[in-house]
Amino acid sequence: MKAILKVNSSLKTKMQRLEQMAEDAVKDRLVDIAQSAVKYSPVDTGAYVTSFSYSVGAGRPRGKSSKNRPRNQNPNAMRQEGLSNLMSDVSRISDLKNTTSIILRNASPHAEAVETKHGYSVFAILRNLYG
C-alpha cells in the first residue's frame, strides 16, 4: 500500500520566502543591537566604541587601547565608525539562518572599567533591552 503525496510547487517558494523573512528579521535585530551598543557607549578617544565585534566562532575580536590616542574625539564620527564595524561583521556572516549563536563583544582593555567602574553599563542595558 502506498500513497503518493504531491507537494504544491508554490509551497517550496513560500518556504523559501519564509526563510528569507526570518533571516531578515534576525538581521534587523542585529542592526538594532548594534545601534544601541554605540548609542550607549561613551566617547573620548573612540577606542571603546570602535572595539565592538559580532562573531560567530573563532576569530580575533576588535580591541583598541585608549593609550596614546587623542582625546575629545567627535562622538558622532566615532559612533558611526563603531556601527560600520558591526554592520561589516553582520554582512560577513555567510549562513545566518543556520547560525545558532552570535556573540557581541568589546575587547578594548578598558571595557570592564567602562561597564562598572565608570558606570556606563552598556552590556547591562543591552541585555535588559534585547536579552
Binding site: E112, T116, S121, A124, I125, N128, L129
Partner: protein
C-alpha cells in the same frame, strides 16, 4: 507621571536596605568614602524603557530598567565574601518578586523583578568585586 522613577528607585533601594546579611551601601550621588579592607555595596539605577502598553489615549506605560548592585570586598582574600553577597542579592531580588512601596502621597506601587543575574568576579585594586544586575519592570 514623571515621579514614578523616584518611587521605583525608592522601592528598590528600600528593599535592598531591608535585606539582612549585606554590608553598608554607597547610594548614587551620596558621599561615601570606602575604607580599605571593609566591604561595601554600590548601586546604580538604570531606567532603559518607557513605552505605552496599550493603544489609545492616555495609555498605561510599561517602565523597565536595571538596578545594578556591585559587591566590593577586600582584594587578596578570595572570592567567597563577594560570592556570598551576590547570592543574598539574587535571593532577595529573585525573578517574579514583587516589591511594594508607598510614597509620601500614600500611593502604592508594585515593582516586579524580571531577573537577577550575577557577573564574573573582577579585581579593581584594592577591591575584588562581583556585579549583580536586577531587571525590573512596572506598568503604571
Amino acid at each position: 507621571m514623571a515621579s514614578i522613577y523616584n518611587d521605583i528607585r525608592a522601592a528598590l533601594e528600600s528593599h535592598l536596605n531591608d535585606t539582612s546579611g549585606l554590608p553598608s551601601v554607597a547610594y548614587e550621588n551620596v558621599t561615601f568614602e570606602p575604607a580599605t579592607g571593609t566591604s561595601f555595596l554600590k548601586t546604580m539605577f538604570l531606567p532603559t524603557l518607557r513605552r505605552p502598553a496599550v493603544r489609545g489615549l492616555n495609555p498605561q506605560q510599561r517602565y523597565q530598567g536595571v538596578f545594578s548592585v556591585v559587591a566590593y570586598t577586600p582584594e587578596g582574600k578570595g572570592p567567597k565574601e563577594a560570592d556570598d553577597y551576590a547570592n543574598v542579592l539574587i535571593e532577595a531580588f529573585e525573578a517574579t518578586t514583587d516589591i511594594s512601596f508607598t510614597n509620601s502621597d500614600t500611593e502604592t506601587i508594585n515593582v516586579s523583578i524580571d531577573y537577577a543575574e550575577r557577573q564574573q568576579g573582577l579585581l579593581d585594586s584594592p577591591w575584588y568585586y562581583v556585579r549583580v544586575d536586577i531587571g525590573w519592570y512596572i506598568y503604571k
